[in-house]
Subunit: 399 residues, 2 copies
């Protein structure tokens, strides 16, 4: 059995095919991963622009005159912007181009208006409230680098430069196959007490969607070698990654671990010294990957995060949202094995820090998915770690 | 002008109409807000269940005998589960119900099999690898409370209890109206340099969608009183919240601030002592709200988070994702006004803490949306705050 660290290195070194992109309208791009650098094609603002409502003036007139003739106005969006020379001003509004000749904007609040003139009551420094050319950005500047997840700010900046269509990473297609003759899908009528509901298919579909993938739901297949083999072939034909649950342990009906090599796939590893999920298996056929996870709900969820999420992130060309961060243990923790352990914990944020405790978490088997409800995280203990004291800085995976 | 704190209290006290729900399939529920408590209707597991592959035994036989007859097997999902009595064992797999009579599971790795018998090589404690009834949860236990955002773990737990349809909060309908004769939508051809692109419509649509709302995009309306009034009436007819940008400042073409009261709406406040966005206006007509934001991109985004997000969260019955948290200043900060300031900053996470700096952030006008790109946050300084030293714990809003 390889160590967790070795398994992670192996995943990070797998050859991923070419980066595949597609063009979408920015109004449909929320949450997608940008697949091109966004570069400014002009300075912005392109002209000096007013940042307030007021009067465009020559700053040199401020001290010498104190009273200026109002020479028309200059609404935002106007084409004709007028010309300011000594002794006059032009009323100018937020977002308007500055009239030619003017170098400063004196706000409405700083003047008194009488008989078509402004009387300056409170001066301002040179250039006040004028957005200079290129204040926001300069031509040629990289505004957003590829690999960024598109959120509201990215959409706003793209709209601001009139980018309608944008290149994003294609969603990796990820198939999910749940195996096990005991497994029932939601809505199916149970015939006897030995059957259990498949939460795995639906948990993994939600994870795949959240990570920006397209899930192909292959449903449940019983412990039948031919049926499993056929379902895998169908999944491989239509997806970049095939994720299965169950059938990798040491039981007589654990067929998946035997079938994957027979699909012509090369097994990259089988078995990692982790808890939960030690039987996890990773294989590759051409440019496609097969990740066979254990069947228990908690185990399959954790191993998905450890092995499928980084593969998807690499295909998308973005960072993996399940990279560990640091938090502080609120209570002592007793390590149970000499494996790398991933323990469900509560994550709270106080005094500028994340804190870890285990209130209400059940320490039973790997079947307990309810441990991941609420503000949950996974605490990581290394193989070498012993028991940990309260106050220790530990690594966690935020969910 | 009221203070930021007063404005926030006023928003939190606004009467929101009845909570409106709808039923969706759990496969379409990702990201929705749960509008019912999810309560377990039985113990889970319902029967003692095997947590490993091995042999179901009577623990009392372990010490006395050491060798047991294999009395058939018990695959997961089987209906007939057999009966274990002293001297015999039944092969039992992960997820199988425990045979009647058996109280312990001895794993495959702990025995040697010879001539239809197991020879126990390494004993286990009483009850080993048996999931007791109710290990995951008990009948009547609240598994997920209403108000929770549905993620992968919630979907998994719902699937596990065979809940197909679930009640979620209806998405609040939020209309967006951008005002200003200078404003061009994406794709429109500019006729002269005085026109600017509307990023606001698209930034706000992305924010509304991210927060779980349904955006009704009302587009751009020029500085024309009748046209603005008509667009607001159309928006009010179809939405719970109308958000507008522009037209609330002191300029001659700032019509929105005059039109909102004429719509028969009661102005709750106009003007808050904040930077950016001091001209923001909140009004109410019946059960509908009008939030008129300033026109500059940075100002409208910040004031949306401060005033629209909490309203939406209350309608959804969930917590507001833009609640401030604490972070540590990496560098000194010079406060510029006696207002509550919301300053774009970089947020990094090191040594278990969030850190704030301003590298690459431009301190120009409120027009600079690019300041919100990257790992950005808003740092909050109160009216009373002066300059801040490096190391100060400050409040931030994570974006």
């Amino acid at each position: 059995m390889i160590s967790y660290e070795t398994s992670q290195n192996m995943v990070s070194l797998l050859p991923i095919g070419i980066q595949r992109g597609e063009r979408v309208c920015i109004t449909a791009s929320l949450g997608r991963i940008l697949a091109e650098d966004i570069i400014a094609d002009e300075d912005y603002p392109t002209h000096p622009t007013s940042a307030m409502d007021g009067y465009a003036i020559l700053h040199s007139d401020l001290n010498e005159l104190g009273t200026l003739e109002i020479f028309g106005d200059n609404p935002a969006g106007a084409d004709e912007i007028g010309h300011v020379e000594s002794g006059v001003c032009i009323k100018t509004f937020t977002g308007s181009l500055m009239p030619r000749g003017a170098d400063t904007l004196i706000p409405i609040e700083n003047v008194r208006v009488e008989n078509g003139q402004i009387i300056i009551e409170k001066p301002v420094p040179y250039g006040f409230a004028v957005r200079p050319i290129g204040e926001s950005y300069r031509e040629g500047e990289t505004l957003i680098p590829r690999g960024v997840k598109i959120g509201f700010a990215q959409i706003g900046v793209l709209a601001g430069i009139n980018r309608v269509m944008v290149r994003v990473a294609q969603r990796p297609r990820v198939s999910v196959i749940a195996t096990g003759s005991e497994v029932l899908d939601i809505g199916e009528v149970a015939r006897h007490a030995g059957q259990i509901r498949s939460s795995n298919s639906h948990t993994l579909e939600a994870l795949i969607t959240s990570l920006g993938g397209e899930c192909i739901q292959m449903g449940i297949v019983g412990d039948d070698k031919a049926a499993i083999m056929q379902r895998f072939e169908e999944a491989l034909a239509s997806s970049d990654i095939v994720v299965s649950t169950g059938g990798v342990s040491v039981g007589d009906y654990d067929f998946v671990k035997h079938i994957v090599p027979r699909l012509g796939a090369e097994v990259i590893f089988k078995g990692v010294n982790i808890k939960p999920g030690q039987h996890v298996m990773l294989a590759q056929r051409g440019e496609k990957f097969i990740v066979s996870l254990p069947g228990f709900a908690y185990s399959s969820t954790v191993t998905f995060m450890l092995y499928v999420a980084p593969l998807m992130a690499r295909m998308l060309g973005c960072s993996n949202p399940y990279e560990p961060i640091e938090a502080t243990l609120k209570v002592p923790f007793a390590k149970r094995s000499n494996k790398s352990e991933f323990t469900a914990c509560n994550l709270s944020f106080e005094d500028g820090r994340y804190w870890v405790d285990f209130d209400g978490k059940k320490s039973g088997s790997s079947a307990i998915l309810t441990n991941l409800l609420g503000d949950a995280a996974l605490m990581i203990c290394g193989e070498e770690d012993g028991d940990l004291e309260a106050g220790t800085l530990v690594r966690i995976i935020k969910l």
